[in-house]
C-alpha cells in the first residue's frame, strides 16, 4: 500500500501545507525580515568599520545572511508539525489508509519551498542594496544546490522538536542557536581577527565552510577544497538528523 500511494499522498499533503504557507504570508515575511534587517544593519551601520579585504561588504556577507534566513525559516516547519500533532489531524492522517511517511515528507517539501521563496526575497533585497555576482549559471546552480542541501539538513533537524516539543515555544526555540551560529563564523568578519579559541571554533564549524564556498561561487572564483568540507557538513547533518527524526517519529507512532 505504501509504495503505490507514496507520491500521490505526498503531493496531496504537500499541497495542503503549502496552502498553510500561502495563507499566512506573514511566516515568509517574518522569515525574511530578520535577515534583511541584519543585512541593512551590517551593511549601512557596522560594515563601514569592518575590514574584509574586499571592496563590497554586501557581497561578503550575503552568504551568511542566506544561512540565517534558512535557520529562521525552518522554525516554522517545527511549528507547523507541532500544530498538526496538537490539533489531532496528524492522528487522523495516520489512521487513514495512506502512505504514512508522506505526512512527514509533505512537511519537509513544504519547508523547502517556503525557504526558497524567503531566500529569493532576501536575494532581491540584496540586489537592490548593491549585491552583484559575476557567477555563471553553473556556479549559481552549485550555490542553489548547497542552499537546498542545507535547508533539507536543517529541516530534518527541525522535525525532531516538531515531534517532541511540549509547548509551541519549545517547538521553535531550537532555531535560536542555529540563527546565532553564523555570527561565530566567517559570515560577517574574517576569522583571522578572532582570538585563538573562538577562531578555532569559527574555522571548524559548518557555517564557515558553507559561507566560504557560497562566497567563492557568487564571486566566480575557484572554490577549492572547501566545497567538499561544506558538502560533507551538509550531508552529514542531513543524514544524522533524518535518521534521528525518523527514530523519534517511529517512537511517536508506536
Amino acid at each position: 500500500m505504501s509504495a503505490t500511494h507514496f507520491f500521490g499522498d505526498t503531493a496531496v499533503l504537500t499541497g495542503r501545507s503549502l496552502k498553510h504557507v500561502s495563507r499566512s504570508l506573514d511566516t515568509i515575511i517574518t522569515t525574511a525580515v530578520t535577515p534583511i534587517a541584519m543585512m541593512l544593519l551590517f551593511v549601512y551601520v557596522l560594515g563601514g568599520a569592518i575590514d574584509t579585504g574586499t571592496d563590497s561588504y554586501i557581497n561578503y556577507l550575503l552568504p551568511g545572511i542566506l544561512l540565517i534566513t534558512i535557520a529562521s525559516g525552518i522554525a516554522y516547519t517545527a511549528y507547523r508539525l507541532f500544530l498538526d500533532l496538537q490539533g489531532g489531524i496528524f492522528d487522523r492522517f495516520h489512521s487513514m489508509p495512506i502512505a504514512r511517511s508522506s505526512v512527514l515528507w509533505a512537511h519537509v517539501l513544504t519547508s523547502l519551498v517556503a525557504n526558497l521563496i524567503s531566500l529569493v526575497v532576501v536575494v532581491m533585497v540584496a540586489l537592490l542594496m548593491g549585491f552583484r555576482s559575476g557567477a555563471g549559471v553553473p556556479a549559481w546552480l552549485a550555490a542553489a544546490g548547497i542552499l537546498v542541501l542545507f535547508t533539507l539538513a536543517l529541516t530534518w533537524l527541525a522535525v525532531i522538536p516538531g515531534l517532541t516539543a511540549k509547548t509551541i515555544d519549545g517547538a521553535s526555540a531550537f532555531s535560536y542557536p542555529l540563527i546565532f551560529l553564523p555570527f561565530i563564523s566567517s559570515a560577517f568578519v574574517p576569522t583571522a581577527t578572532m582570538p585563538g579559541p573562538v577562531r578555532w571554533f569559527a574555522e571548524n564549524q559548518p557555517v564557515t565552510s558553507i559561507v566560504n564556498t557560497l562566497r567563492a561561487l557568487f564571486a566566480g572564483q575557484p572554490v577549492g577544497s572547501e566545497i567538499w568540507i561544506a558538502l560533507a557538513w551538509c550531508l552529514g547533518i542531513l543524514v544524522v538528523a533524518a535518521v534521528a527524526a525518523r527514530a523519534v517519529y517511529r517512537r511517536r507512532i508506536s
Binding site: 500521490g8 499522498d9 499533503l13 495542503r16 496552502k19 489531524i89 489512521s95 487513514m96 489508509p97 507512532i253
Partner: protein, 258 residues
Amino acid sequence: MTTQAAISVQSLHKSFGDLAVLRGVDFEVAPGSIFALLGSNGAGKTTVIKILCTLLKADGGSAEVNGFDVATQPGDVRASLSLTGQFAAVDEVLSGRENLVLVARLRHLPDAARLAERLLQRFALTDAADRRVATYSGGMRRRLDIAMSLIGDPPVIFLDEPTTGLDPQGRLEVWQAVRELAVGGTTVLLTTQYLDEAEQLADRIAILHDGRVLVNGTLAELKQLLPPAQVEYVEKQPTLEDVFLALVGGTVETGEQP
C-alpha cells in the same frame, strides 16, 4: 460464529511506564450498531480507540476491526475505519470544502469535489463551505469532522468524545448525525463521559473503569443492575437545557420521547 463482530477486543493490555491503563479489556460490537464506551477521565477510553485505530500498539491481548487484526493487518484496518478524535481534527486554515476534498483525495476516491459538495449539503455546511474552518462554531467543526469521517464509506467509525466542549445546540446536532450513521448501517464506537449521551445514542453500553470493562449490556440490562425504581411524585420543572434551547430557539429535535 454466525455473524462476525465489527469490532472485537480480547484481553487488551496497555501500560505507559508504570501506569497500567488497560488491564484486560474485552468487548464486541455487532455490525451496524452504536456501542458506547462510558468512563470518567483517565479510564482508558482514548487508549482503546487509539489501539483500534492503529495509532498505538497494545502490550498484550488482541483486537480486530472489520475482521482484520490491528497488529498484523494495520493497512486493512485503516481502510476499514474512520477516526473522529477527541478534538475536532480538522484543518483550521483550510475551508470546510477543502478539508473534505483533502480527505477524499487521501482516500484515493474519484470525483472528490462532488463528494465534498454532497457531504456539505448533508451536514448543512453549504453556506459556510468556503469559509476557513477557524471561523466555524464548535458544532459546525464537529459536523465537518464527522463528515470527513464518512468519506469513503468506512464500515466502522470511531468517535472519541464527540460532544466534549460543545454547547447544547452543538451536542444535539452531533447526536443527530450519529443516529443517521447507524441508520445507514455503519458501526459506531463512541466514547463519552456523559451518561445521558450513552443513554440517548447507544444500542449497547460498556462501562470502562480502572482499565477494565465493569459491565456491558443494553440500557435496559444495565438498569436492572440497580435497585428497582421507586415511585415518587415530583413537579416536572423544565431543565436548564429546555430553558436554554427555548430562549435561543433551538430547533433540533432532542429525540427524547419517540
